[in-house]
Symmetry: C2
């Protein structure tokens, strides 16, 4: 009982009170035991993770306070979920299964410990959805909260699904939501949160705070023979534009086949990012797996065009 704060059961309220090593211990204490496949977990110079197929998939995404999230619009747990989701979706878009994450966390010294707890819970629980674990990290002082997440994954013997493999005649298919996050953000920006909002608005705001990428759909479509795939983080037209350019083809979108959601505008469907839907191309003779819908076809040419008119679609806004 050498710490008088402990005697009275007082919890530290700011991370500066914990110090770097105290903060690291606290974070590690909130993680579950290392799953099978994590050979060395947090606490050493580095972690060691099984890479059973002899290759490792790796991607990184950074979320910055003020740029990617605001504390008046998101709780800490939501931000943790969002940071994990952006990374986990990139692994899914390669047709792989995420196995482990490391987290670089920058925070001001006066940040509430409860914010750290929330961030860790969001990261941990979102990772757990796909069976991945947080295996290491770094915490350091800085002017605003920044989460730099890196995720690694396992292709389980499959060929990675790149953006560059789309072939003329392939179908274009979609899994996941389009424009929900953008619509939710627009509601928050217009001050339409709090008591009295309707169910649709509440669902869209929730979708902005906690995206729900279709993680399992990535490996599923890779197994079915996807020729190209990417996640929608910049907006459907922008990301299909990247895929079209990488593949040297045109993507012809069937506008009528795009999902229609109450409260979500057509512009938000075309240009909203952050839902981390997956878009992919698939040979036309392959049955479309459950959870995926056909939204277009791959043609010769370039860019993203409207299937009926062949007019170029440029992301609005």
């Amino acid at each position: 009982v050498s710490d008088p704060d402990q005697t009275f059961g007082r919890q530290p309220s700011q991370i500066a009170e914990l110090g770097e090593f105290g903060l690291i211990s606290r974070i590690i204490g909130q993680l579950p035991p290392n799953p099978v496949g994590v050979l060395v977990g947090p606490g050493d110079d580095a972690a060691v993770v099984l890479a059973a197929d002899g290759r490792v998939v790796i991607s990184t995404d950074v979320l910055v306070e003020g740029t990617h999230f605001r504390w008046d619009w998101s709780e800490a747990r939501d931000v943790g979920v969002k940071a994990a989701a952006a990374n986990l979706a990139d692994i899914a878009a390669m047709g792989a299964r995420a196995t482990a994450l490391v987290v670089g966390l920058v925070a001001p010294a006066d940040l509430s410990v409860s914010v750290i707890d929330g961030l860790v819970a969001g990261l941990r629980d979102e990772a757990a959805l796909v069976g991945a674990a947080i295996v290491g990290g770094d915490v350091t002082a800085g002017p605003c909260v920044t989460l730099a997440v890196t995720v690694i994954g396992d292709l389980e013997g499959r060929t990675p699904v790149l953006r560059s493999g789309a072939q003329v005649g392939d179908l274009v298919v979609l899994a996941g939501r389009l424009g929900w996050s953008a619509a939710g953000l627009a509601l928050l920006q217009s001050g339409r949160d709090g008591a009295g909002i309707d169910l649709v608005a509440a669902a869209l705001i929730a979708a902005h705070r906690r995206p729900e990428p279709p993680y399992a759909a990535g490996p599923q479509l890779a197994r079915a023979g996807a020729t190209a795939m990417c996640d929608v983080s910049d907006g459907l037209v922008a990301d299909l534009g990247h895929l079209a350019e990488a593949s040297g083809v045109a993507i012809a979108l069937d506008i009528d086949a795009l999902p229609s959601t109450p409260g979500v505008t057509f512009d938000q469907v075309l240009s909203g990012g952050e839902d981390h839907a997956l878009v992919a191309t698939l040979r036309a003779d392959v049955p479309i797996p459950a959870g995926w819908r056909e939204i277009g076809v791959v043609r010769a040419g370039h860019g993203v065009v409207e299937a009926q008119s062949a007019a170029p679609i440029t992301g609005p806004g």
Copy 2:
């Protein structure tokens, strides 16, 4: 010739002029071709790297402007070197060889493009020292420059060398510099830079700006049978304290065996971090490989003590 700036050969001076995708293209353009072992390099949702031994070592470290570096004391290239070095040393300390890095880069929109070029050059060239490549990243806007680097590595069939494996009777061995970076920082803090400084001061300041961790010494000592290892990033006494605690032993330091460097105080040797020396333990009957020096012995007990007097050593300052 659609861009009038290009017509007159004008280079963009701020990263905002390039935009996100222009900036990414510029960075990728400064990287060498993918080495063998990088199956998918930058530009897709994720990279794919060979993990030949069926396991992957992973570590992350974040450097923040104002916390870890200052632009009046370091050039951009130095900061890139430093960010890579901190990460590469962690992989070496596991007895592994680094294979690939991903870099999360946060920067204000008005940052000079030349700073980005310098950061990339430093990261790229330091990684190349060990045969590792930058395989992906993320760039985003934020209030201060932040580099979040994650590195993965290959154990090449070896057992990872943890902090927890030291045994009573083992020798304590050191590779690399102690206190150089701290001494260089002290010179910078006292304004002793610029014309007229002596060779020793110049070397110490250079060591602060660009650490030179003994990367090859990590795998070398793992092959020789190291029982425990870590890199010195918090200071010799602090890091040996972590190793002693993880192993449940005491580390008895032979003070006279510690390296002595002109311009570096004894306190800086004991408590200076950032040189990323490697410290390790080795069975006493194993010949000490070239490049390593004996600095103590593992005893029963706890903490870091002075070998002759058995008095506890606490990091000064």
